[in-house]
Amino acid sequence: MSVHSNSLLSPALWAVLLPLAAACLSLLYGRLPRRGRFLLLGTAPVASALFAAILVRGVLAGSSHEIRLVRLMPDVYLSLRVDAAGALFGLSVAVLWSFIFVFSVGYLRDDRYAGRYHTFSMLCLAGLMGVAYAGDLITFLAFYELFSIMSYALIVHEGTSSAIAAARKYIVYIAAGGSLLVMGGALAFSASGAADFAAGGVLGPGTPPTTATGAALLLIAGFGVKAALFPLHGWVADAHPAAPAPFSAALSGVMVAAGTFGIVRVVYEVVGARWLAVLAIDRGLAAVAAFTAISAAVVAIKQDDLKRRLAYSTVSQMAYITLGASLLAPGPLTGALVHITNHASMKGCLFLCAGLLARNAGITRVSQMGGIARRFPVTMAAFTLSALALIGIPPLAGFVSKWVLGYGMLDAGAGGYLVVLLGGAALAAVYLLPVVRIAYLGEPSEEREGSLAPARPGNEAAPSMLAPIVALTAITALLGIAAFADGSALSLARLAAESLAGSR
């Protein structure tokens, strides 16, 4: 690890700063020319993605770096650091955000608060990029709180009574979670005198067990709110249907995952795997995650609202990641980390499809979807492929994560959790395949057919909405097919897991 000589040259810094600049720029949204403003704002996520790609290349080539921007307090810096896990997460965020931005241009075309949407969306992107590259717990918390709190504005965006209620619920959960995090962070800092992320954790062997327990539980519970761990998942199912579709995609794709990413950092670089094993918190966490994975999938089956069903699916999928992280071995951790990326692509696409159907056909419920594939062939093809990937059909992205996760579980001597993995996959089939069946084989309702323009090629949706869906589907396929190639997401995840969990 090298300290960068000139921090202004760090791509990590610019990947965070550009979205912030775009957020400031979109304050002037109404005064910018109509076409120019999309190019101008769109530059931020795309450039962030490019910087993230440069960082990934660097990490794969074995270089990593750290910059200290400013000393906030004695022994506490605002610092950025690029490691394999962060590079992978950062790239996933920026790429997904680029597609989401394009989609939002079409989705918000007639929205009079589009400027406000883009301001807060760019702030969230800056926060997430900061989370990916945060070099210590304080920097992590700073960016984490930034996107968590700014998300409120995007959930409440549509201003309906359900959006207002969902946003209120969200902010209560998130504020409470944030308080737990600061308490846990202060406790860990008080015990160790360091806020930096360090391999093996910062808590020394002489730490009193009660302190270690307190810090671990507070930090894991704090991130667990965002990661939607049972019983802290209450906000997820309300926030997703209420938010505008591009933001639902971001929320499910990378924001909930940021919570699991936080748990990974806490487990391996703050509290340390050794302490977790000594205190048996790893076993408790695994049990909670396993329960969440199965029970959320069961609940998803009963949901008629499409976005709500997908939201419960997210709760279930995120629990896999927590489960993989809690087993304290490189194998399952690899599966967990690569699943963050794969899930972002699959679930992002599914939510964009749901958003497209809602905006162009007014369809929000599964029961309204009868025969909709004839009217929206490309959308439903993308939906089907992403759904199959999520269930775990080879050779798509979801299969890769589950294969690696499952293999890692056997390797780590935790084969019992394979039941959870297979059960979850079976349940995913039960809640996703009926959607596909209804869309292709169901009977269309009379009134809907009357209100919709007849299907013609090119009449399905605006290109700005269709293109991201197609692109994400292609990425989902690629993440599966090319998983074992050099420089794939999987190879990066393996590298990350080795450095996080291998050094125990």
Binding site: L27, V156, V182
Partner: protein, 493 residues
């Protein structure tokens, strides 16, 4: 211990605004002169105070003593780190508040009186911040009490006069108790009242005397620091014009009380002596109670300025709690919170005043869509609100983090819980307002109409300060670094 260097500046700084007050009283009927004197005095004073900062950082305490009337009794000034922390904030915010007041008070009557007493208040505040001994501190503390009265009753409405009476009843009683305490200290310490020795009460004082002395001084100063149940005057005094509420009731007057408690703990008793007694624990519990109870009261207020007042009551007790824990981390939180709370609260008061002057609205429930009408003003308000909820990289987080770490360090877990509860309560009473202002659907879209520049720019400057105090507060000369110097001296580190 800092090196004492003889220098006129600690006496000169309060003198500048005292002269300004005189000039305004004499020639203040003309608006042009009034503005000129107020602005130039504010700037000059800030420059004088700031010019002492490098010395403070370098471990120098500039000292200036006038002749003593009797052994140990005299007027003296000494710019140690703790005093400089308070003086810097007051004099900086005075510059901003002067610009704001000129804009806000335009067209009001009795402006000569207003700006004269305004300057006098700040003169007294800096004087008591830089006081070298307990008596000097007390004299200027009382000057501040008296010269704030004409500002509280400025509107001369029956409500304002009633509030002024309440204010006097509380603060003069508190002042009397402090004076008794000082007399007792003088007897106990055998004629020593000067600060700078980490305690002037001798260690062999009997516990009963210690207890009586501690209660008298902390509760006497606690009146202005609005510790519950002595807070009654503060919400009522909010009838004053908004710049007065901002500068005096969020910075000078209330902070003078909190500052008095800090001096009492660090310089009258000393950390070492108090550690052997139960007294600081009692103060800590009372402060913790105030933090929570006042926040709950704030939740119940609809009038924006009253909500701000109860929030001030709650935030002031951060200072008292931090100082009572007798832990270096918590003590840093206490001292740095003097600056952090001041900047955040002034931002909010300025925004509230800008809204009142621009739209005539004073109740939160009327403020739907105000953020779409005045986005910059409410944006500044939002930054301060997030600061109070302890969002990292904003001022409030620095205080909250230090306090929580201090609590854990001294084995008191409940401190972090109080901090968390307070942050959540702050979110509970500020976030709904941001929702109303920015996100609540309104039937008629408000047209853009910001406050006039003299109200808007001071508000924005303060919001930028909130961010700077969260981001670069550790740079030499910034509040966190001064606070750490002050605490290192008090704890003999």
């Amino acid at each position: 211990m800092p090196v004492e260097v003889w220098d006129i500046r600690p006496a000169l700084a309060p003198m500048v605004s005292f002269v300004c007050a005189l000039l305004v009283f004499i020639g203040g009927s003309r608006a042009g002169w009034r503005r000129f004197w107020s602005m130039s005095a504010a700037l000059l004073k800030f420059i004088i105070v700031a010019s002492m900062l490098p010395g403070t950082v370098g471990g120098v305490a500039y000292t200036f003593r006038f002749a003593e009337f009797a052994p140990g009794i005299g007027i003296g000034f000494r710019a140690d780190a703790l005093g400089m922390a308070f003086a810097t904030v007051s004099s900086l915010l005075w510059v901003v508040a002067t610009v704001y007041s000129i804009g806000y008070m335009k067209g009001e009557r009795s402006l000569g009186r207003f700006f004269g007493f305004f300057a006098l208040c700040v003169s007294a505040t800096v004087a008591l911040a830089l006081a070298e001994n307990l008596l000097t501190l007390f004299i200027f503390y009382e000057v501040l009490t008296i010269s704030a009265y004409p500002l509280v009753v400025h509107d001369e409405t029956p409500e304002a006069l009633r509030a002024g009476r309440t204010y006097f009843t509380y603060t003069l009683t508190g002042g009397g108790v402090i004076l008794l305490g000082i007399a007792m200290t003088y007897v106990v310490s055998d004629g020593v009242l000067a600060f700078g020795h980490n305690g002037i009460v001798p260690p062999d004082t009997t516990p009963a005397v210690l207890a009586i002395l501690f209660v008298m001084l902390t509760l006497g100063f606690g009146v202005k620091a609005a510790i519950m149940p002595l807070h009654g005057w503060l919400p009522r005094a909010m009838v004053a014009p908004t710049p007065v509420s901002a500068l005096l009731h969020a910075v000078a007057v209330v902070k003078a009380g909190a500052f008095g408690v800090v001096r009492t703990v660090h310089d009258v008793f000393g950390v070492e002596l108090l550690r052997q007694t139960w007294l600081p624990d009692a103060l800590a519990y009372l402060a913790a109670f105030t933090i929570i109870a006042a926040s709950v009261m704030a939740l119940l207020q609809d009038n924006l300025k009253r909500r701000l007042a109860y929030s001030t009551v709650s935030q002031l007790s951060y200072v008292l709690l931090g100082i009572a824990l007798l832990n270096p981390w918590a003590a840093v939180a206490a001292v740095v919170h003097i600056a952090n709370q001041a900047v955040q609260k002034v931002t909010m008061f300025f925004a509230a005043g800008a809204i009142q002057r621009t739209t005539g609205k004073t109740n939160i429930s009327e403020m739907s869509g105000i953020g779409r009408r005045m986005p910059a003003t409410m944006g500044a308000f939002g930054v301060a609100a997030l600061g109070f909820t302890g969002m990292p990289l904003l001022a409030g987080f620095i205080s909250k983090w230090h306090m929580s770490v201090g609590g854990f360090d001294s084995g008191m877990w409940w401190v972090a819980l109080v901090m968390a509860a307070s942050a959540l309560l702050n979110a509970a009473y500020w976030f709904p307002m941001l929702y109303l202002a920015f996100f609540k659907p309104v039937s008629e879209e408000p047209t853009l109409g910001e406050a006039r520049p003299s109200l808007l720019y001071p508000t924005l400057v303060c919001a930028v300060l909130v961010i700077l105090l969260g981001l670069v507060s550790d740079l030499p000369g910034m509040p966190l670094s001064i606070a750490r110097t002050a605490v290192a001296q008090a704890f003999g580190m």
